[in-house]
């Protein structure tokens, strides 16, 4: 029973850690499927986390906070679009610029608004996404296995957790079942085919970036108003890049990308668990080295896996063919 509880606990931790990854990865999916490389997921998330916490703290409304997070993230996505679509700028440089700008600006504005060294004040409960308890969760909590699964794993999360996991089928549906999705996939593979079919390439890419902005906005709001109750500098802590890694690992397809996020989330949860979990002092020599090194190895596993994938050692990852290349009509 204890082992079962441990598994439930791990899975629960995995879910919580995976939420921002799933949202950001779906965000990146829209951008990259349209042919725009987005290494600015990190910056958009961070910007949204700040905007959500700041507006939440100022207005006391969780919804206004979420809206602010989304607007901030969409604005950054449009800046990326303006540089990369309208001005054919380098997409990687633009992404780097956005990441660095946001890392600086969030702290500058945070200090200007709250004078707490870049942190926002603790958010009151009404400005946070709190856990939703599903009907009957408490009643069935003692039922073996199923009860625990229901009350611990399904129930008891905040709204954004459910949003994140609903975003996956929604993304799948949009990408594979709608006109927009068909054009989105086409514009990332063969913009000239889209152009000759009488569809605006720039228009499609801007629309994709708006969706990217919205999803990244939710991811950011989750960090500051759901997972924690305040914004703290650099709080995205590389999650945007892990999401990018998951996006590549899932080969730009919604369900595999989600699974990659869950895998990476699991690794993160496991690494946190493992640190100090072993009685290192009693082990000796090589075993000891392995045990102490394990959490770090698990930490970098997502990145190593992506490199191996890109190198073609574990399957192949073929990016949308037109990604990274500004669309200029050929003469």
């Amino acid at each position: 029973m204890e082992q079962f509880d441990f598994v439930i606990l791990m899975l629960d931790a995995m879910l919580r850690v995976s939420v921002p990854l799933v949202l950001a990865a779906m965000a990146g999916l829209f951008s990259e499927r349209s042919g725009i490389v987005d290494i600015g997921l990190e910056g958009k998330m961070l910007g949204a986390a700040f905007a959500a916490a700041a507006v939440g703290a100022l207005t006391g409304s969780v919804w206004l906070g979420l809206l602010a997070g989304i607007l901030a993230s969409v604005a950054l996505a449009m800046l990326h679009g303006y540089a990369c679509i309208t001005h054919n700028g380098n997409q990687v440089v633009s992404g780097v610029a956005i990441n660095i700008m946001v890392a600086g600006l969030t702290v500058v504005l945070g200090i200007a608004l709250f004078s707490r060294g870049g942190q926002t004040p603790q958010l009151p409960a009404e400005a946070r996404f709190t856990a939703l308890t599903w009907p009957g969760a408490e009643a069935v909590a003692d039922v073996p296995i199923l009860g625990a699964l229901y009350s611990e794993l399904l129930s008891g999360h905040n709204l954004l957790v459910y949003v994140a996991f609903l975003a996956v089928p929604a993304t799948w549906w949009v990408v594979y079942r709608t006109r927009f999705g068909l054009r989105l996939r086409a514009v990332g593979e063969s913009p000239e085919a889209v152009d000759t079919a009488g569809i605006s390439v720039a228009g499609m890419r801007y629309r994709a970036l708006i969706l990217t902005g919205i999803l990244c906005g939710v991811a950011g709001a989750y960090l500051s108003t759901a997972q924690s109750a305040f914004f703290v500098r650099e709080m995205s802590a590389g999650k945007g890049f892990i999401a990018l890694a998951a996006l590549i690992f899932g080969k730009w397809r919604p369900v595999p990308v989600m699974l990659a996020c869950l895998l990476f989330g699991f690794l993160e949860a496991a690494s946190a668990r493992l640190q100090g979990a072993f009685d290192v002092d009693n082990a000796s020599g090589f075993v000891r080295e392995v045990l102490t090194g394990l959490p770090f190895l698990i930490d970098v596993l997502p990145f190593i896996l992506v490199v191996l994938l890109l190198a073609g050692f574990v399957g192949t990852a073929v990016a949308p063919k037109a990604s990274g290349i500004p669309y200029v009509k050929e003469r």
């Binding site: 079942r177 068909l182 054009r183 086409a186 063969s190 085919a193 000759t196 079919a197 569809i199």
Partner: protein, 535 residues
């Protein structure tokens, strides 16, 4: 995404003036189309009439302005001036959307398909018929089955396009256009990438489309195709219409002449060649391109010291690939290249540097893509391929002044203007850029000089100069292989002429026996004996 953007207005006098035999207005009429790209005039005052229900050919050499004209008709570019009439009514086509609405479909030379998509998805892209795909796809499926049946355009609707052959992909492009209700179908060089069998199949499809009342515009440089299936033909040359004729009233020779034009003959003073030992021997050479198409087919020939061997042919018949294989840029699939007594087999191919070390010089066909590095200063471009030469390399440091002096000397000898070795390569005119390349390759005194399109985009003065130099190289006992699509150039320079068609050498003609008619027929794939009889 706008719908019905083509504004159409009545213009009755145009309709009657240009009406066809059946009394119908022409499917398409172009009047006085002009289009420039910067200083280049791609179309000059082009007017032509395309009858409804006919197959209309547009022929011309590369760069004659055919594709530009059709891109204007399809709304991909806007004409600087001129008018377009569709079904006798003036049409304002400013985007592909407008062209589609006006019933014009286009099959581009490079297919506009999304490789990972299925055939069905490719066909509905841009014509989905609603925000959700399911319904539109179901509708498209039945419509496609009808179209396939009607025009014998069989293709597996659910196959992924990337897995299909080129011929099948082309059918999808045709289906795409028909699905959008195209009445007029433009095909840009449709057989360039097809096998002869696929091409024959395509022609059968086009014939059946014509039977059903569709209008076909066929852009090509292959005269055989024009003669085989068109009703009327427009010949373009240098951006202008050289002639509009009914196909039955013309023949291949006349079209070849119209296409190439009677240019001022730049006859070069030269004595008969005195060839000595063999420098280059090519045997059984095959070259396959990145797409897996065999571009050079079992080619074999020799070039001797003291002669110029010309390779004639319509562009795109494997000459470029042959030249690149000989220069070590492209690895051959099989065969042997022998330079003097060094044998190089496809299995042990060497790179361009290795070929140069065997005494080979190479003036590439495209100086923008290969001959020069445009952002480099002229003196840096003037050592491209020879940058490792100890003549101006210390152990570590490159001796810049020596390179600049060398470039200055070459510029003087080849009359490059301005003669400034420090100027950026991109800032020279085409003729002067070409002289920089020619000087670089000739001044090394190669035993064998490969020359591709030496005078493309070059002014008359530079043409004469380059031609004279080539003769001097020959007289100095060098072996020269000249690839050119300019018949005049080949006829005035080459001592022996090989003609390439569809990747293979059709035959060889001595300079004394060469004339435009014979060469023109051989360029169309007719064997030399047969060509002789016709001529």
């Amino acid at each position: 995404m706008s719908e019905g953007g083509a504004s159409v207005s009545e213009r009755p006098e145009a309709a009657t003036a240009a009406s066809g035999r059946a009394g119908l207005p022409p499917a398409i009429e172009l009047r006085g189309i002009n289009k420039s790209f910067g200083p280049v005039r791609a179309n000059r005052d082009v007017s032509l009439v395309i009858q409804k229900g006919s197959i209309h050919g547009i022929v011309g050499e590369n760069g004659a302005g055919k594709s530009t004209l059709m891109s204007i008709l399809y709304g991909f570019y806007q004409a600087d001036s001129g008018e377009v009439f569709v079904d006798g009514r003036k049409a304002n086509i400013v985007s592909p959307d407008d062209a589609i609405a006006a019933g014009i479909g286009m099959v581009h030379q490079h297919f506009m398909l999304v490789d990972p998509f299925t055939v069905l998805e490719n066909v509905v892209l841009g014509a989905e018929g609603g925000a959700l795909l399911a319904e539109g796809k179901a509708k498209a499926r039945s419509e496609l089955q009808r179209l396939e049946h009607e025009y014998s355009l069989e293709v597996d609707i659910d196959a992924v396009v990337g897995d299909l052959s080129v011929g099948l992909r082309q059918r999808i492009e045709i289906l795409k256009a028909l699905y959008r209700g195209a009445e007029t179908l433009i095909l840009d060089e449709p057989t360039g990438v097809l096998t002869p069998q696929e091409a024959d199949h395509l022609f059968r499809i086009l014939a059946s489309l014509k039977e059903q009342g569709k209008t076909i515009v066929l852009i090509t440089h292959k005269l055989r195709e024009i003669m085989a299936i068109t009703d009327n033909v427009t010949v373009m040359r240098g951006g202008e219409v050289a002639a509009n004729v009914a196909t039955k009233d013309t023949d291949t020779e006349q079209l070849a002449e119209l296409m190439v034009g009677r240019k001022v003959l730049l006859r070069v003073e030269k004595t008969p060649a005195q060839p000595t030992e063999t420098v280059l021997t090519v045997t059984g050479l095959n070259v396959v391109d990145g797409a897996g198409v065999r571009r050079v087919k079992d080619v074999g020939f020799t070039v001797r010291a003291g002669e110029i061997v010309g390779i004639a042919g319509v562009a795109g018949n494997g000459q470029s690939e042959l030249l690149e294989a000989l220069a070590g840029i492209r690895q051959p699939a099989s065969g042997h290249i022998r330079v003097r007594d060094q044998d190089i087999s496809a299995e042990h191919a060497v790179d361009a540097r290795g070929m140069r070390e065997l005494g080979l010089g190479h003036v590439p066909e495209d100086r923008h893509r290969m001959g020069l590095v445009m952002p480099f200063a002229a003196n840096e471009s003037s050592i491209l391929g020879y940058h490792y030469d100890p003549a101006y390399n210390g152990r570590i440091i490159m001796e810049r002044q020596k390179i600049i002096d060398l470039c200055a000397a070459q510029m003087k000898a080849y009359d490059v203007r301005p003669d400034n070795p420090l100027l950026t390569s991109a800032n020279f005119s085409g003729g002067n850029q070409q002289k920089i390349v020619v000087a670089r390759e000739m001044e090394r005194n190669p035993d064998l000089l490969l020359v591709g399109q030496p005078t493309r985009g070059v002014d008359i003065g530079a043409i004469e100069f380059i031609h004279r130099r080539l003769i001097e190289m020959r007289d100095a006992g060098k072996a020269v292989l000249l690839v050119s699509v300019e018949l005049d150039e080949i006829m005035s320079l080459a001592d022996r002429i090989l003609v390439m068609f569809d990747g293979a050498i059709v035959g060889e003609v001595a300079q004394s026996e060469a004339n435009e008619q014979v060469l023109g027929l051989m360029m169309a794939g007719v064997s030399p004996d047969a060509a002789d009889e016709v001529a």
